[in-house]
Symmetry: C2
Subunit: 290 residues, 2 copies
Amino acid sequence: MIETYLLEQFSAFARCGTLLKASEELHITQPTLSRSMRKLEEKLGVSLFHRENSKLSLNETGKVAAEYAEKVLTANQDMIDHVLAYDRSLRTVSIGSCSPFPINELMPAFQDFLSEKTILTELSDSDERLLTGLKNHQYDLVVLHTLPADRSFFCQRYMEEQIYISIAKDHPIASLDTVTFEQLRGIRIMVSGNIGFWMEICKRHLEESDLLVQSNNDALTDLVEASTLPFFNSDRMIELGYDAPDRKSIPIRDDDAHATYWVVCRVTDQKKYRSIFNAVRSYAFRHNEK
Amino acid sequence: MIETYLLEQFSAFARCGTLLKASEELHITQPTLSRSMRKLEEKLGVSLFHRENSKLSLNETGKVAAEYAEKVLTANQDMIDHVLAYDRSLRTVSIGSCSPFPINELMPAFQDFLSEKTILTELSDSDERLLTGLKNHQYDLVVLHTLPADRSFFCQRYMEEQIYISIAKDHPIASLDTVTFEQLRGIRIMVSGNIGFWMEICKRHLEESDLLVQSNNDALTDLVEASTLPFFNSDRMIELGYDAPDRKSIPIRDDDAHATYWVVCRVTDQKKYRSIFNAVRSYAFRHNEK
DNA sequence: GTCGATTACGTATTACGTAACAATT
DNA sequence: AATTGTTACGTAATACGTAATCGAC
């Protein structure tokens, strides 16, 4: 077997063409490289270079050897990458969600029951992408707004969320008890940029030009206070106090404005996340009682 | 990058299960292995083992690492194997032939013009197999008894060979000037085992049970002298003095009993073997003159 | 007591750098 | 003169072995 450092030095020479350039790239001296190249030849028992006129170059065998050396080195680097990634994956729980609110609500439970692990959360606007991610171990837990048919997933019903329009009290619409997306068409409405699948819903029912998307949440809060423009809200957000005093929040009665969230994992991991699912279940129970 | 010796030691431990057995396999001491395993963990920056009760075993990450280590090591060994094989191939000329006689005749030319190379000759009973071997660099030169249609080969007509039956002078057939395979059916005939495609010809035209195949050439010579059984001969063999005084050699007039040999190489190698083909051509010219 | 792993210490190997030299361009 | 590769020599790093220690079965 050939030691890795010899292959690294050989590969560097093959790329750079001269020992000098290779030695600069590797931050070692030429004599070291010169000796290493001889050593590699000795180890293999074959000649790898043309040596003439203080000019060193690969011969036919050397070119073949360089190709294979590259393979060995990438295999080595691959090992490092994969082992580190695997080790990381053991200490990390990746959670994907179609919407930001369930994640916020679940965070305390995650921190309780996965205290020794790193928690990594990610928003996605597509249930489908979340499920494929769950399947190929990109995620360990996902929160969906649709119930997957696949039996290889374990699903627990979690919570409901209802979208509201928060609109100035003197606006004609403020007199209504409920509205439809249809009634909101043509009105400019502010909306946060990080709302997962809700953005798709909004774009489907309203003109895209009417949506004032604001990715920065602080900026959105400022805008709400500084303007009288309506904005999208939800029962969950209102519960948390995200409301504006001079506005009225009116529920949107379209089916699409209501979501039921499901917490999902691979059936093989069902036991692993048992305590989390218990917390989810009791949360769902408490809220169904109301 | 991880040095190869660390991966070798790690792999040995993964196979053997204990440091002691691994150390015996590698002919090093346990302390060395113990230190190396720690070093590997340090280099990767992750834990690879369960250490408890003077018992060392791979943890989950360690098992993954062992798989990848194996890949790196096989890539390393692959490199060595292929580089050595390639280097060998540069100093070797592999010659395949459908018949022994052309090789014997060409040997002096090979030794003249490939003096710095190792010459490797091989008999094959199938032109087809010789051609595929030539295509995939198993052979560099082949001698065929059929002219290949493929334009990616360069072909040079070489020599003729005519099969004779050498039969006791008092045998009825000995009175004939020529014979056919048909006339020889039912007669037990001795034949050498190493005659390439000729064996196929004999089996096609004669009962297999009538052929007394003798793989050892010396034994065949002895048998020829000690018995009066007929045997197959050829004009080329007769020229070289391979004959028996108390027998008569009669040419077989079937088409199959006559062969025209072609020396063939890949067109890409045509120049490389130019001097050999010159020798072949002049040999063919001399013999056509006769 | 045996087996397996680790620690501590000393040694031998060897990979590397410095300096000088050789050979081209 | 500048560039590139090699040789010679000394040094620092390190891989290894020996001996002793600890724990468990």
